[in-house]
């Protein structure tokens, strides 16, 4: 396995009965890159992510994440990754601070470290006034930023973001991508799925999934050249329409 590849998937497949949700996908993600994982609704992105983060066993094929096998070393993978699901999944009935303390604790951060991280995170996001409010009462954009920060709490090598900007306003989306870049600069590998093709342009490399298969994988620039179009939007439309 190549040291610079933090994710390496080979023929990764997931079947639900007769339905093949993910069909033998092969790709690799390099250390420190922002990898865009695109695809239409139902193309199999979330299923693929779930296999990579070790909460869904592959039907066949294999994948290594952070050097560990997804089938046999899922718990080791979990120590090295952060994950933000498309559905907001922090505890609505805990405050911002409590959520941070809770997840920090699960990842085995020390009390001092948790305190430090809490302070840092609240200052970075400008959450001083709502730090003691229940997360459930906050607007979606804020929740998403908090989720992302919590996913980075234990300084993971790779962070998986499943449609992190779904349903948020353009300003928040922009701020969110600034956060992604900051994390990327600090050396975190970002694996992100999105529907927004303007966001795809921000990625170092993108893959486009259609009906469970990866149909294209390259830098946005190369993809546009390859499909002879001006924007990622057109690349996507060409591929998705078949």
């Amino acid at each position: 396995m190549n040291n610079t590849n933090v994710i390496q998937a080979e023929g990764l497949t997931k079947m639900f009965g007769d339905f093949t949700a993910v069909n033998a996908i092969t790709f690799e993600v390099k250390k420190g890159e922002i990898f865009g994982f695109l695809g239409a609704n139902g193309a199999g992105k979330t299923t693929a992510i779930k296999m990579l983060i070790g909460i869904s066993n592959p039907t066949s094929g294999q994948a290594h994440v952070a050097g560990f096998d997804v089938s046999t070393q899922a718990e080791d993978i979990k120590k090295n990754i952060g994950y933000m699901s498309q559905k907001f999944a922090l505890y609505d009935d805990l405050t911002v601070k409590e959520n941070i303390t809770f997840f920090g604790g699960i990842y085995g951060l020390t009390k001092i470290k948790i305190k430090e991280k809490t302070k840092e995170l609240i200052e970075d996001l400008g959450l001083e006034e709502v730090a003691n409010q229940l997360v459930g009462s906050l607007p979606l954009g804020w929740k998403q930023k908090i989720s992302f920060s919590v996913a980075l709490l234990h300084e993971p090598k790779i962070v998986f973001l499943d449609e992190p900007t779904g349903g948020v306003d353009p300003i928040t989306r922009r701020q969110f991508w600034e956060m992604i870049y900051r994390a990327s600069h600090q050396g975190t590998t970002i694996f992100v799925t999105t529907h927004y093709m303007d966001e795809a342009e921000y990625c170092d490399r993108v893959s486009i999934m259609v009906n469970g298969k990866i149909e294209a994988l390259d830098t946005p620039k190369e993809l546009k050249k390859q499909f002879q179009v001006d924007s990622m939007n057109d690349v996507f439309l060409k591929l998705a329409r078949g």
Partner: protein
């Protein structure tokens, strides 16, 4: 949520302990007096004097009495045949007809005993009378009169019921809280976030057990206080033993709840399964019906009923003052049960699907 968890069950304790009693009172009593003699009058007066019977009316015919029973207006009908007094005096024996509404079998049994007691006491009285008339010189033999009442009037049912109902409340609340818990997290999506963390399965289950365990022990404490202060239930045995046993018992129920929660996909499913077990456990716990009178296969099933052990232990320790050695069989079974249920809870929690 916390007030709901505590206030509702304690209200239940107060209401149920007062209402759930086996005493049968206000029995609607009617009679058909075909004799209309002083003897039949005296017998009816015996019933009127009893605090358990409400003597309603004299029915002129059996048909009217039957239709009244059909309508549920009377529970017990006493039929005194004609020549009752004459037969008593001449033949020294007479027959009486008793009809009891046995829609509620348990109540009918109790009513039968009441009626029998009253007639027996009347019988004794008549015998004395007859002896005095026929044979004035001979004093009536002092027959042994220790009554074998299976129904003890002085037994306070609250003393008996309060510990049992307390057991039910602690069990229900903890089972439902645990049973709804993990499946709720599945529904709202937080479980997925937990599953991508490196948390160990046993850590997760212990984390789930602990708060509910505290709630269960809190419920027990408040329930015991109420039992003492409101119902004046004696607490003969060791409180420490009661708490010690309960602390393990709650783990059985919580493990079971978490096991259910792991196996289900929605809170509705979990609720149905929890109810299924709850109803069986309650009705087969020996709290309302004695286990000894169940069919053999049912008695074997009760061996798997944790509530049975808890009811036994609570009654033994609270009312009889049993010690550790007395409850050892129940304690050991409960410990084994707790280990199995929590093992299953850990096993059934799957971080990977």
């Amino acid at each position: 949520m916390l007030p709901i968890i505590f206030v509702l069950p304690l209200l239940q304790l107060v209401i149920l302990s007062n209402a759930a009693t086996f005493e049968v009172k206000n029995i609607k009593f009617a009679y058909i007096d075909n004799d209309r003699s002083s003897s039949s009058r005296a017998l009816i007066e015996k019933f009127e004097a009893s605090t358990y019977f409400n003597v309603l009316s004299n029915f002129p015919s059996e048909a009217l009495a039957s239709s009244a029973m059909l309508k549920g207006e009377v529970d017990v009908v006493l039929e005194i045949p004609s020549h009752f007094e004459r037969n008593l005096q001449k033949e020294k024996r007479a027959n009486l007809g008793i009809t009891i509404n046995a829609i509620d079998g348990a109540a009918a049994g109790v009513e039968n005993v009441y009626v029998t007691q009253i007639i027996q006491s009347y019988n004794k009285h008549i015998k004395t009378d007859l002896m005095q008339i026929s044979d004035a010189q001979i004093k009536p033999v002092n027959i042994d009169t220790i009554p074998l009442f299976w129904y003890n009037e002085t037994l306070n049912y609250k003393t008996y019921m309060v510990p049992g109902i307390l057991v039910l409340l602690v069990t229900m609340i903890t089972l439902f809280l645990a049973g709804m818990n993990i499946v709720r997290e599945k529904e709202i999506g937080t479980l997925e976030q937990i599953n991508v963390t490196p948390i160990k399965k046993s850590q997760f289950i212990i984390g789930k057990l602990f708060p509910f365990w505290i709630i269960g022990m809190g419920l027990l404490t408040i329930g015991l206080l109420l039992a003492r202060l409101i119902f004046d239930v004696p607490m003969v045995g060791s409180l420490l033993l009661m708490y010690g046993y309960t602390s393990i018992y709650i783990l059985v129920i919580l493990g079971m709840g978490l096991f259910i929660s792991n196996f289900t996909d929605t809170q509705q499913q979990a609720m149905f399964i929890a109810w299924f077990f709850m109803v069986i456990f309650i009705l087969m716990s020996g709290l309302f019906t004695p286990i000894e009178s169940m069919p053999e296969w049912a008695q074997i099933l009760t061996e798997f009923n944790p509530i049975k052990y808890f009811v036994e232990v609570m009654r033994m320790v609270m009312l009889k003052g049993s010690g550790l050695m007395d409850i050892l069989p129940q304690l050991i079974k409960t410990i084994v049960y707790a280990l199995i249920m929590n093992g299953l809870a850990v096993w059934s929690y799957k971080k990977t699907s």
